[in-house]
Symmetry: C2
Amino acid sequence: MVRPTPTKPSFRSRFRQWLGRTFTSTVAETLGAHRIYPPPTAIPRADAPAARRWGFDDTRFVWDRSGAPRLQGNRYPLCGVALPALTKFARDVLGFELSAEDRHVPLAEPHAPERRSDPALERALEQIVGDRMFTDGPTRVRHGHGHTASEIYTVNYGRLARAPDIVVMPESTEEVAAIVRTAAHHEATCIPFGGGTSVTGALQCHDVESRIIISIDLARMSRVRWIDPVDAVACIQAGAVGRVIAEQLAEHGFTLGHEPDSIEFSTLGGWVATRASGMKRNRYGNIEQVVLQADGVTAAGEVGAFTGVPRTSHGIDPETLWFGSEGTLGVITEAKVRLHRLPEVQRYGSIAFPDFAAGVGFLYALTQHGDVPASVRLVDNDQLAFAQALKPAPRRRDLPLKWLQQQVLQRWHGFDLSEVSAATVVYEGSQELVERQQKTVRAIAEQFGGIDGGSSRGADGYRLTFAIAYIRDYMLEHWVWGESFETSVSWRNAMPMIAAVKQAIRDRHAELGLPGRPFVTSRISQIYPEGVCTYFYVGFVYKQVEDPSAAWHALEGAAREAMLTHGAAVSHHHGIGQTRTPWLHRAEDDGRTTLRRKLKQAVDPHDIFGVGNQGLSERS
Amino acid sequence: MVRPTPTKPSFRSRFRQWLGRTFTSTVAETLGAHRIYPPPTAIPRADAPAARRWGFDDTRFVWDRSGAPRLQGNRYPLCGVALPALTKFARDVLGFELSAEDRHVPLAEPHAPERRSDPALERALEQIVGDRMFTDGPTRVRHGHGHTASEIYTVNYGRLARAPDIVVMPESTEEVAAIVRTAAHHEATCIPFGGGTSVTGALQCHDVESRIIISIDLARMSRVRWIDPVDAVACIQAGAVGRVIAEQLAEHGFTLGHEPDSIEFSTLGGWVATRASGMKRNRYGNIEQVVLQADGVTAAGEVGAFTGVPRTSHGIDPETLWFGSEGTLGVITEAKVRLHRLPEVQRYGSIAFPDFAAGVGFLYALTQHGDVPASVRLVDNDQLAFAQALKPAPRRRDLPLKWLQQQVLQRWHGFDLSEVSAATVVYEGSQELVERQQKTVRAIAEQFGGIDGGSSRGADGYRLTFAIAYIRDYMLEHWVWGESFETSVSWRNAMPMIAAVKQAIRDRHAELGLPGRPFVTSRISQIYPEGVCTYFYVGFVYKQVEDPSAAWHALEGAAREAMLTHGAAVSHHHGIGQTRTPWLHRAEDDGRTTLRRKLKQAVDPHDIFGVGNQGLSERS
């Protein structure tokens, strides 16, 4: 509107005008770049997960010829080395002797529960999915459980009360919708299945369920449908497995940044259904920040959100209910997710603190400062000791250095080695960002007596995550029950809650007269300005315990009482499923429980998605 | 578990141990600090909002003795100075002569629609709220509209078809629950009322509503109940007004950081109900990131979420439905919100770009870089010209400098003054953060031909926000209709959509044969990695137009068609209300509409919250 005085353009002016045109055309070109449609991928047979254990089928702990535990295969840095310290650790901490001769040998084949059949329903399903329908025992068993220790114990040493009667693997949203309509017509019930990594009993079938149970496995809906390099958004099918998504996006220079510990096996749909959280949340957000929108099929039909904009205020958003739905509202079929360019730099760090409180102080000060690295974790002294037990025997020539390091820590820094805690850090981003955050972390750590432990210790800490998951099943085979659970708590309540939970488990262990000593440790795995996410890891000897699963539930119950008393959440990111439903109802007010039931009733009045998580089924 | 070798502690070691204890006790002390309970505050009479205009009652545009428009009072930097350029702007751009003699004089008193009464209901309500119940005409009219130009036009020049019959002001959640129960018992309908600043017709009462309409005004539920300085969380009642919240939190060193343009009058509850967005979202998040949880009263009773933890995975979260509920599900009564320490530094910046595309390129590059200042906005050339029109006449001695500046811009930088666009920036945070972001902004701006416009131009841009809102009603009194709307769009579609909307409005204006010329400008007010939020501002002369409201709807309709075609959202943060419902239904698939209706039906089967926004009432 402001008209320029007509002037003879100078050279500089013409040059600027030319530049202006260049900017404009560059912008138009950049913003017009084409979408990428990656080819479909299939998971190679060699990468198949184990049926009744955690992890890949080719990887497990075995007894080394030297008489020490060793992780088979070559998938992880820990693989192939004898870990004599692990047996010593079990002896010292649990008061139990791990032995190759004293194994609790699992069943050769799982006992599949009785299958109910409905030929008319099966014919109708076959019309939809063809030969992608399975009714064999092992497939049914695999679809009838997740990865709680109780479930793994049951499928290895006992028998599931009930499992899906039919497993189908649809290849499109239309097929999912047809399956759901068919199930409704034949009065069957459906349970969506992703990676099968639930740790809340969310896949358990009820023995009182009289309807045919159809497991809808999304393994064949696992494509990255498109990547938009302009808007940094991708559309990914719900059955895509975390590690495959990461590989496919990396090929095009992108990352989701969502890295739960289960990333090797869990799926995008499962993440949404459980409200998952990844290790690098500080940089990339929790799943509700990662997923811009999720689409799916409910009993009432397909629901797709308005697409392709960064944010809307479109009234009540029904799709937000997918988050935390745990299979009770329908099948999540695909999602649009936020991408990030692969970071220029990734670095690790570690810091030793004189004790746990000093470590917590450091975490608190860091969150209040605000420039928090992608991941920061803090382990307590017991967990630090456990990590030490997962190291190979030191080479003789390294012993003097190790001794020297300990002397420096104790004599120079005055650390009591039975009190020390340790933080590990992952930095991701530009060179500038990473260096700045390293500086910040160093400065704040120093204020709390922290000592730099070097980047290799940090990297080790994170790399252990995946290998460590295999230990649970190894221990289970050697009469040691291992389980973990997570919670969320305010800064104010964090330390008292952690102490109370540990004490409660020790006390209950003594009350129950269980053999040996309990192992209880905690790790702060996520930090927020308002508080933390804490994991607890519990181990106990179950040899000659009549009902180890009941013993575990008694220990967990004691822990949850302590958590409730200290205002901690029932779950930070694993969900409620079935094992945690009673605790959810105790933690929240009736109004909320009632409203959740009303919503379920509205979306799925005939309880077609009748798995019963969160108490959302009359049969549960 | 790792036992230290007993050693005689050195001095350094003892010193470290002492330090360790100090850290530990400091941490315990810090994490144990008490909650703050601020005293209740009341909004002084002098700060009352105007009844039928935007803004404070003591502030409005008037004709200066010099014959130019002037903003009365002393609340804003713009107040008290004559703005002769504004009349010139209207003449040049709209082709219309603003004149003190040619006013469209509003009604002296608003026409209140007929009131329905139910003595039994009124007695029951009186039992609950005592004398905090109102049935007078002006109060009823004020509670029967928001701030669309159509509504303001109607209350000033026409008559609302319907308004609330009773206005109640509860003082507690219990009172709200009692009111809702009473309404249900007497088959009345309830409409929650916060700041009354809706711009989507979300407060309009339906003329076909045969039930008694109760407006539940939350003005008396406006306390900051507590501030937790440890966890940086506050509990605030839903009726608290933005500017009052900001003042109260600032006294204790905190800020919400949520600053919608309506912050002077809009309330926390209204922000949740509409899914609001604040200017400084890049730093503080949208309302769903600001609010950790919202509690309220539905037709089914009170709903309070699990409190006091940073995050949960507690299954389906019914409270997420409060976001975007727009009064259709119940009354939001209070919320726990995330606080931030007041920033160490706040600075402004401005940048001139050769054209709009270069400015968009800058915004895109900045979001992909990632270190984005608290607020970054981009105005197009027409809006820049409008901002110029809101400046006082330059002093004669400044004229040569102004001329020189223009010469430099045109001759040296080669800018075409009819193409220039401008970005304004707010930096907030630590000194270090702000300086780093300034460096980043400068470097990226340069790549797109940007020229630093200085911080005072930036500050002016933001300060104008509040004063500029008064112009709409001044113009309305002088036969010029002004309205704005916002949308959300991907980067890919941003520029084509903006161009198409502008063209559509110009074309429709011509088709309708409206007098003068239309004024259409746009501003990018929010930037995301995935796209932008864009505002459009439209002005047109309505003198001798039979039904100006219908003319506006025709213009808006043309704009919305263009938005739909280009994949833009129906709303980024103002919501759907009633005026946008038809467009929402066109933009989204039937599954989503159906599911939203089912949810409404589940929570409020008797449609007690029957305002009908989003088409969620049979009466709507």
